[in-house]
């Protein structure tokens, strides 16, 4: 572990961040903001942090965190001057909180932010002008977010999403480092709907889809005309390459919803509509 310890010493860090309560977005209707498509084809938007700015940042659905560079974090009072001066690898200061983060008319309160000078951002900024941070998951998860590259706009509509705090990547990594058992994580799949079929994917089966082994009489599957021996290729637009795929698809369905299923019977492919019911 010596190398790792050496690595740890490279980065000074403030004390553990307090757990930040996630505020639901303020009740606003649809808000559309312009997006700038950079020469590099990244999306840039302008934000204000704690009322300061505007700052030009990248809007990134691939980022599980919202990230501010040291300059604007200090400017907006997210970190202190002293903190900003302490040398650190990539200027990494850990997690902090922006009291407000505003994008157009949208204002999110208590936004968890990572403070760091991301090397990719710095490299891009040299070619593309100032890029001071990244807006990621903790922001866009609060909205139904619509990207229109042709119109160069992003539209936001608030949704009630309960898990907007973002990934605590640090905690995940710590847990994994401490867990030497190397056990796989277990994911429970427990759809709320009754369909009335039994699915199988034999290990030697290389063909697309899963096999419907049994269809129970009087069930939604029977009513849709499914038969034992059919292959289920798609359920609610999900490719059912495994039994787990089918359960995942079913997990997104509400009782009484009309669901499209694509099946293969012999050499014929066809689509049927199944209406699953509340049940187990």
């Amino acid at each position: 572990m010596t190398l790792l310890s050496a690595l740890l010493l490279l980065v000074p860090f403030p004390p553990a961040d307090p757990q930040v309560a996630v505020e639901p977005p303020k009740a606003v209707g649809k808000v559309t903001v312009p997006m700038e498509i950079l020469k590099s084809k990244h999306i840039a938007v302008e934000i204000k942090v704690n009322g300061k700015g505007p700052y030009r940042v990248i809007f990134d659905t691939g980022s599980p965190v919202t990230l501010l560079g040291n300059r604007i974090a200090q400017d907006a009072g997210v970190i202190s001057k002293d903190q900003a001066r302490t040398p650190a690898l990539f200027g990494a200061r850990g997690m902090g909180t922006a009291k407000t983060l505003a994008l157009g008319d949208l204002v999110v309160e208590n936004m968890p932010v990572m403070v760091m000078d991301h090397p990719a951002l710095r490299a891009a900024a040299r070619a593309l002008g100032p890029l001071e941070g990244i807006v990621g998951y903790p922001f866009f998860s609060r909205y139904r977010t619509t990207f229109d590259y042709q119109a160069s706009t992003i539209t936001f509509e608030p949704v009630e999403y309960s898990d907007a705090a973002g990934a605590d990547l640090m905690q995940m990594v710590m847990l994994m480092m401490n867990d030497r058992s190397n056990k796989p994580i277990q994911k429970v799949q427990s759809p709320r709907t009754l369909w009335g079929f039994r699915l199988e994917k034999p290990t030697e089966d290389e063909e697309s889809g899963v096999v419907i082994r049994e269809v129970l009489p009087q069930s939604p599957a029977a009513e849709a005309g499914l038969e034992a021996g059919d292959r289920l290729l798609e359920l609610d637009d999900v490719w059912t390459e495994s039994v787990a795929d089918a359960y995942r698809a079913a997990g997104g369905v509400s009782p009484g919803q009309k669901v499209k299923a694509k099946i293969k019977r012999g050499e014929m492919e066809k689509c049927v509509t199944i209406v699953p019911r509340a049940g187990l």
Partner: protein, 293 residues
């Protein structure tokens, strides 16, 4: 506990095209056609990884499915070197491969699209650690995403992708022919170093709830059996329509939501212990669950 080295893991934030020739992505066929009455719309299923990345599956030239991160922070379609190799996808000397067909789960198809065969350090790092809980094969960036209007709502199981009637201009590398800047190289090095200390986590194991074969309804502040499928485990255990489910593994059931929560909690059990009320009498019923939905 010192967590200070971890800020080098901000996930897949920003992938850059660094050098290589400027790629001219071919316009998608039909994109130049006159305004069509309505552009097709697709329901694109996605999964949210443990690291809060949005994962969409796609088939390349009929093979797959592969797992891609939906990444507005990536300038193009990236396929990891490893995944490309494994499936016989070869890039030209400029690092780009042309795909005949990219089929996105939900039905959207892009033809003759270029893919950057490269493994950004973010992807290799996350894969090596097994952090996302699923193997990543690449990223869907601008050259794919810009051809659609993309609606993302994490409270719904599908994204909506609507085909746009335009040809997005191709991306260009931001540093022509140059090498990766020092900081970027340092970041890649750190990710590789970290991998030495992390063991790869195995793929997740799915536990599927057992099948009872009952249709249920909420009635008078409780849950009632509406219908029992003939031949189902519930039928074999003697459950009947009209039975009121009072308890599930000794926990009170007041609503369908309660019941489904308990079913998930006890998903791995082979038997379900119910207390039901029938004609004013309480009965204990044990149902041997079977596989099924």
């Amino acid at each position: 506990m010192n967590r200070s080295w971890l800020p080098i893991l901000p996930g897949l934030a920003m992938a850059l095209l660094l050098g290589g020739s400027a790629v001219q992505a071919d316009p998608p066929p039909g994109a130049e056609a006159e305004a069509k009455p309505a552009q097709p719309s697709y329901r694109v299923p996605y999964q949210l990884t443990e690291t809060k990345h949005i994962l969409v599956r796609a088939r390349i030239n009929g093979k797959g499915p592969y797992h891609f991160i939906v990444d507005t922070g990536a300038p193009a379609l990236f396929v990891s070197t490893e995944s490309a190799q494994k499936h016989g996808l070869t890039a030209g000397p400029d690092g780009w491969a042309e795909l005949d067909k990219l089929e996105i789960e939900g039905g959207a198809v892009l033809e003759k699209i270029k893919a950057r065969v490269e493994t950004p350090f973010q992807v290799s790092g996350m894969n090596a650690m097994g952090l996302p809980g699923i193997r990543l094969d690449g990223m869907l960036g601008y050259t794919v995403l810009a051809q659609f209007r993309i609606e993302l709502d994490l409270t719904r199981p599908h994204m909506i992708w609507t085909r746009l009637d335009w040809t997005p201009p191709p991306p260009r590398p931001i540093l022509d022919g140059g090498q990766a800047p020092n900081e970027l190289a340092a970041m890649g090095g750190l990710m590789r170093l970290l991998q030495v200390f992390m063991q790869k986590r195995p793929e997740p194991v799915y536990i599927q709830r057992g099948f009872l074969g009952v249709q249920l309804a909420e009635k008078d502040g409780g849950v009632v059996v509406d219908h029992v499928l003939p031949g189902s485990p519930a039928d074999k255990a003697g459950l009947r329509s009209g039975d009121r489910i009072l308890r599930f593994h000794e926990k009170d059931v007041g609503s369908l939501k309660d019941l489904h929560g308990l079913a998930a909690e006890h998903a791995s059990k082979q038997e379900v212990a119910l207390e039901v009320e029938r004609g004013g009498q309480k009965h204990a019923k044990t149902i041997r669950t079977e596989r099924g939905l």
